[in-house]
């Protein structure tokens, strides 16, 4: 492996901050979900890179990547369910206008 692990971590950091900026800047709930997925994927890249370069034989880091996959799938299913039921109540996906549950 001639590519240093730092390069993978750098790509992971760039993608993580990109997703983070998207979550903060975008107003559409579906796009915010997509940006959260980008952040999770960036974390996965860091986990796999460290696991392959530094891990012992048993690949602990990659196991956590599988759990991240599970969490991401559950998060998208429930998140889209919430977005769709809120949309059915009032047809907006702009998170600034969804404030029915504000106390």
């Amino acid at each position: 492996m001639t590519v240093p692990v730092g390069a993978y971590i750098a790509v992971s950091a760039v993608l993580f901050f990109t997703g983070c900026a998207g979550v903060l800047v975008r107003r559409n709930a579906v796009v915010i979900l997509m940006c959260v997925e980008l952040m999770l994927n960036a974390a996965n890249l860091a986990l796999v890179a460290f696991s392959r370069k530094y891990g012992s034989i048993d690949e602990r880091g990659s196991v956590f990547v599988i759990f991240v996959f599970v969490i991401a799938a559950a998060e998208v299913a429930v998140g889209l369910g919430i977005i769709l039921s809120a949309y059915r109540n009032r047809p907006v996906v702009n998170v600034d206008e969804i404030h029915q549950m504000k106390g």
């Binding site: 492996m1 692990v5 107003r27 979900l33 690949e59 602990r60 059915r88």
Partner: protein, 175 residues
């Protein structure tokens, strides 16, 4: 002739794909295009996993992210109206303070990320045996907990999106 230059070149292409795709997801106003570019980003990420020698993870990535999650997001896009409000958050009074705070975190992380040196390469043979051994011995209990979580998420998604239509309920009662 050696082929040592292939891996850095492939890595450079994949990282350009990942970063450009991620930036496009954040910047594009057309949500369908953003969702498809997110799928492209995930594909490039799978290529990076292959480059790292984690073939199993790459296969899961293609199956779950490119397959399932992208399709779900596309359905979400289709069921809602394509609208995105103005991005008013970018230019506020807190922007300089926020920029300083982000730089305070991001610059040390970026510098630290280049300070790692590679360990010697490991013997080949794929990552599936090690992964499977870990999952079914040390991580057997978290694995079962994850399956319960998936079941709960499935039931929750059905309950959240079920339509309580009064007409339909009345029709069912009449039958």
């Amino acid at each position: 002739m050696t082929f040592d230059f292939v891996e850095p070149v492939v890595f450079a292409l994949l990282s350009i794909g990942v970063i450009a795709g991620g930036a496009a997801v954040v910047l594009l106003n057309r949500i369908t295009a953003a969702a498809l570019l997110m799928a492209f980003t995930f594909l490039c990420m799978a290529g990076m996993f292959v480059l790292l020698g984690a073939e199993t993870i790459a296969a899961f990535q293609v199956l779950i992210y490119v397959g399932a999650i992208t399709v779900l997001i596309l359905y979400g896009v289709m069921f809602t109206k394509f609208s995105d409000g103005p991005r008013a958050l970018l230019f506020q009074r807190q922007t300089p303070i926020a920029a300083v705070l982000v730089a305070a975190v991001a610059i040390p992380v970026a510098l630290l990320s280049f300070s790692f040196t590679s360990a010697p390469p490991r013997p080949g043979g794929g990552d599936l045996p090690a992964l499977a051994t870990s999952v079914f011995t040390d991580f057997a209990f978290p694995f079962e907990v994850a399956s319960v979580l998936l079941l709960a998420a499935m039931v929750g998604a059905i309950v959240l999106t079920r339509r309580d239509d009064p007409e339909e309920a009345a029709m069912r009662r009449r039958r």
